[in-house]
Symmetry: C2
Subunit: 378 residues, 2 copies
């Protein structure tokens, strides 16, 4: 049994039902009306602006009607029906998250314990079954990475992976890039050196949010891939030393890459980025392209470096890493705003040939949401 | 005459020269060494990580030598030469910016006073002269938008504009999209309706950072383009009411677009985004795709809405807008993280055909920096 009451001045209402209770302001309700004059019926876009809603909007009456709540607004004299379930799902009358570094629902942070349970899909399955694709994308969203097995061993196959969920983000490295040993490399990625776990292109703003690394040849010794959950690393740093966590979230680092003619990429962003309400939204970590840090006050610089060092130690800790070897036709996808990847050094005998490319997470999450919505509608 | 002194524990040094003085920590100096063991000579990438630098690194000796400063580190016993000009340019021993909403050097905010002086380039010039291109890109970086005149009137000409500075960001709208009146539009942009000034695709995270709008036909009445500097709007809001500014910077808004089959794009980001040290880094404003705001505590929601309303009023204020009409072969480029664009309504008689696409600011700024570096080197 639902119950509704309106405040004396009509500024907000309180709706209670089945043990739940939430307050909603008049202006919020009016702005979120779904009638055909407020929202375009076909595409859901809002047809009006706040300027079209009277400043002194208040609730004249509110009444329960079936699964709806009918609200009449003054001075417009306009009545709007709201689905009460929708209202409760969008309640803001709750305790907001307060600990800096909280993660969104649906994010699960991990360490090397995930090793036996690496999120994995089958190329054929995800290419043909919307359900298999949704499950694999849900894993990528939850863990920040996922492997795909049994794909074609052919030049450019990685584009078929991107086609599953989105679009290539082209950069100065091309639509895709070749990762194998080259002479006079423009980037250390194109050598046999081991690389510390890192996020790619932190010198770009925005960074590429998704990366695909696809294996075409793999007979050299070494060259295993590793991934580390940057969100878990940030959480560990915060647990160990909140002041160090604050140092890395509270100041911008700088990154730079000018390794080819005509390219001078620079950024100024924190290594650990929080939303204004403290949500952990991104990690940037890359020793190769870290530039001189000039946005930390002199008095905080030693603390900043202690924090930076410790974050690197956590990232290098084998207890944090998930390692796997890619065989030809296998690839992995990482959320480059969260999961660091690395490569162990490899020898010059035999070959190791990967192709990599960037894509965007918005497309991936959109595809996932659309697949979920389609399933729910069946 | 330069002078250098080292602190008693070797933790930092102080260098003074020509009235300038700055302190640098041992660990900062060591991390920023440019010798061939620390940085790859060809591409400048750092070859070591912080773990390769002893935790107890300190300055053993420091001495001036010509334009350099020679520093010897203990316990490594390693000597490194630093260019003193480079050091002073990268000094962090200074008062850091403190007012929330400060803008980077090189950014100039504007209002309708810019109308007589719209940043404009000539398509032929910028396509053939690196100097003309650098000047035009510098204007785009400074003002957040720029027009180009006298371009070809042909399908896809906008790609030639993107080729000048970067790469297309492909999305569900394609590599480019057609902006003209359509029946049953998936997006209100494809109607004759006037649109309030907005940034594009705030429901994407990251948003496309650059947009190109290129005119191919323009005989309909109306349809003028407007731009508004979102950074100036944010500054005005802060001046008028710092608490309102804090409301919009301190809480996330939500945006959503689900206007086509298979697309459910959602984001959670503030309307006015600051770096952790208060730098104004982005504005997101779009009435059409604003979703229910659920990340503002009940107690702050009325203040939030008052701030949101006032920001919209500022954006709608004719004193803020620069208006122009695009003729066929003309286009404009906007920094979509800063400058809002709008369109006045237009009638169904005659035609109006624009093509639009997204690109990325990192490529644009890289091109600008590289052109500047090339010029300086001549």
């Amino acid at each position: 049994m639902a119950d509704v009451s309106v405040s004396a001045d009509g500024g907000f209402l309180t709706v209670a039902e089945g043990g739940r209770s939430a307050r909603f302001h008049a202006i919020w309700l009016r702005d979120n009306a779904w009638d055909a004059q407020t929202r375009a019926p076909g595409n859901g876009q809002r047809l009006i602006t706040l300027a079209d809603i009277p400043k002194d909007t208040r609730i004249a009456t509110a009444a329960v009607s079936g699964p709806s709540l009918r609200v009449t607004f003054a001075p417009e004299g306009k009545s709007v029906d709201y689905d009460r379930d929708w209202l409760f799902r969008h309640s803001y009358d709750r305790t907001q998250q307060s600990q800096p570094g909280w993660t969104a629902p649906g994010i699960e942070t991990w360490d090397s314990g995930l090793m036996g349970n690496v999120p994995t899909g089958d190329f054929g399955d995800v290419s043909t079954s919307p359900l298999a694709l949704r499950r694999w994308l849900a894993d990528v969203a939850r863990y920040g990475f996922g492997k795909l097995l049994n794909g074609p061993v052919e030049d450019g196959a990685l584009m078929k992976v991107v086609d599953l969920f989105g679009f290539v983000r082209e950069t100065n490295y091309g639509r895709h890039f070749e990762v194998r040993t080259t002479v006079n490399p423009s980037n250390l990625a194109y050598t046999g050196l081991g690389l510390q776990a890192h996020t790619d292109n932190p010198y770009r703003d925005p960074v590429p949010t998704v990366q695909v690394l696809y294996c075409l040849e793999s007979s050299a010794a070494g060259g295993e891939n590793m991934v580390v959950d940057g969100f878990r690393a940030a959480e560990r740093l915060r647990q160990e030393n909140p002041d160090w966590f604050d140092a890395l979230t509270g100041h911008c680092a700088r990154f730079e890459y000018a390794g080819e003619v005509g390219v001078v990429l620079r950024s100024r962003r924190p290594m650990i980025e929080l939303a204004p309400d403290g949500e952990l939204v991104a990690v940037r970590f890359n020793n190769r392209s870290a530039a001189a840090i000039t946005d930390v006050p002199f008095e905080r610089m030693e603390t900043y470096y202690a924090a930076y060092r410790r974050l690197g130690e956590i990232i290098d800790d084998p207890a944090m890493e998930v390692t796997f070897r890619l065989s030809p036709g296998e690839c992995f996808v990482v959320d480059n705003t969260r999961v660091l990847h690395a490569r162990k050094g490899y020898s010059g005998t035999g070959t190791r040939w990967l192709q990599g490319c960037y894509a965007d997470k918005d497309g991936l999450l959109s595809k996932l949401a659309a697949l979920g919505a389609a399933e729910a509608a069946e």
